[in-house]
Symmetry: C2
Subunit: 230 residues, 2 copies
DNA sequence: AAGTGGTCTAGACCACTCT
DNA sequence: GAGTGGTCTAGACCACTTT
């Protein structure tokens, strides 16, 4: 439908930004020469897709960037910690431009030698390490990644802000961490870790690969959802 | 809206079952005394919610039981194994009626003494144990649970068939398994396990609590989703 | 008071499926 | 060919928000 396409394109190209008001139904009726029911349906469907918010008496607005967390509640770890009433602190072990090696190239599905950033960050809850984040990022998709202060903003926050998130994939497994990981997370020798591989796509490209290692004792991944319509 | 409510109630009460045909739009127009656009919108919204499937020229039908797996792909373990081209086999360690103890009562949020079923099943992929399923089920919600042959159908399959699934919750963590679990899964002493707690609700009640233990080496939980509209 | 979206009506034309 | 859903029109009344 022409109207949905028009609105989606305007959002993609940036002509319409989150919070912006759309033309009213009446204006779109005039502009596209269709009936109001048609305009109304188009906008209603975009609303139910989470792309617009609408308020009777007020107008239709481009929705804020989508909340990812509905399905797998791995949101912003800093917010999560603070929501529990604890202090959040991050220690940036490294954050530097690198060239893709054979292994990292395979992880991001790019040629060896591609410019990447590699960061390792230990996230703390009240001084307790709760996550080691080992991430590689496509430099062309996030040119300022290396200059970002990740004690103030998390990589995930940064990436979702600069690049529209299209797809996320999580894989979770348990493993015994290696010695250096144990040291960074302050783990006992016998303690297993919950490892999540999180890959994100933007503008059709796989842009980031993160390995998130958690002490098993101090972490649980949860997902909960209702069956729609039931 | 009256029509959506009518259809949903008919499905909930069992008057309409998956695969059944609904009255045509014209019939609903006559029955409810509303215009066809109203009927059409109601049915279209139920379709987009995944409750109906519709085919032009043919009719509207109650959709098959919903695919749970979109968000967390823990589907039917038997199908998963077979999809990998391997043989699936289940060993039922126990499956018996029990009364809720203090602990199991707390897990299902029922009074102690409530009638339950308790089953323990080891799922195998080509003779390799890949999951220990330790489950308790509300007997009043699944009266035939104890008489079901779980070498032929999985508990999850059985439960989703007899009770409309309303809500699922998953919690995942890593842990070192105890000795009896190690024995059932054939694990080494040092091997961590990925433990998923899966709780399911039906008709407003928490009906099942399952602890699924997986050898970490042989298992990965994955979830992948696209951002709608992006 | 003017403008907005929310909802509904009565009618129309079409492509498709079923027989 | 009869019946189905897919889509659209032109008009209406309402509750709400904004000014």
């Amino acid at each position: 439908m022409a109207i949905k396409h028009f609105v989606c394109e305007a959002i993609k190209t940036g002509a319409l930004c989150p919070g912006d008001r759309l033309p009213s139904e009446a204006e779109l009726v005039a502009r596209f020469g269709v009936s109001r029911m048609t305009v109304n349906r188009a906008l209603r469907e975009l609303q139910s897709a989470g792309i617009l918010t609408r308020r009777a008496g007020s107008g239709s607005f481009v929705a804020e960037p989508r909340p990812i967390g509905h399905m797998i509640e791995i949101r912003n770890i800093a917010d999560e910690v603070r929501a529990r009433g604890h202090a959040y602190r991050a220690r940036v072990v490294c954050n530097e431009p690198v060239r893709a090696t054979a292994e990292t190239a395979a992880l991001l599905n790019v040629p060896a030698g591609t410019r990447l950033f590699r960061s390792m960050i230990v996230h703390h809850e009240d001084e307790w390490p709760i996550q080691l984040e080992d991430r590689i990022v496509l430099a062309s998709a996030a040119p300022d990644y290396g200059a970002t202060d990740f004690t103030r903003t998390t990589p995930n926050e940064y990436l979702t802000r600069i690049a529209p998130l299209e797809r996320v994939e999580h894989r979770v497994r348990a493993a015994m961490p290696d010695a250096s990981t144990r040291a960074l997370l302050g783990l006992d020798e016998q303690e297993p870790a919950l490892i999540m591989i999180r890959r994100t796509w933007s503008r059709g490209r796989l842009v980031s690969h993160a390995q998130l290692t958690h002490p098993a004792r101090r972490f649980e991944l949860s997902a909960s959802f209702s069956v729609p319509g039931a």
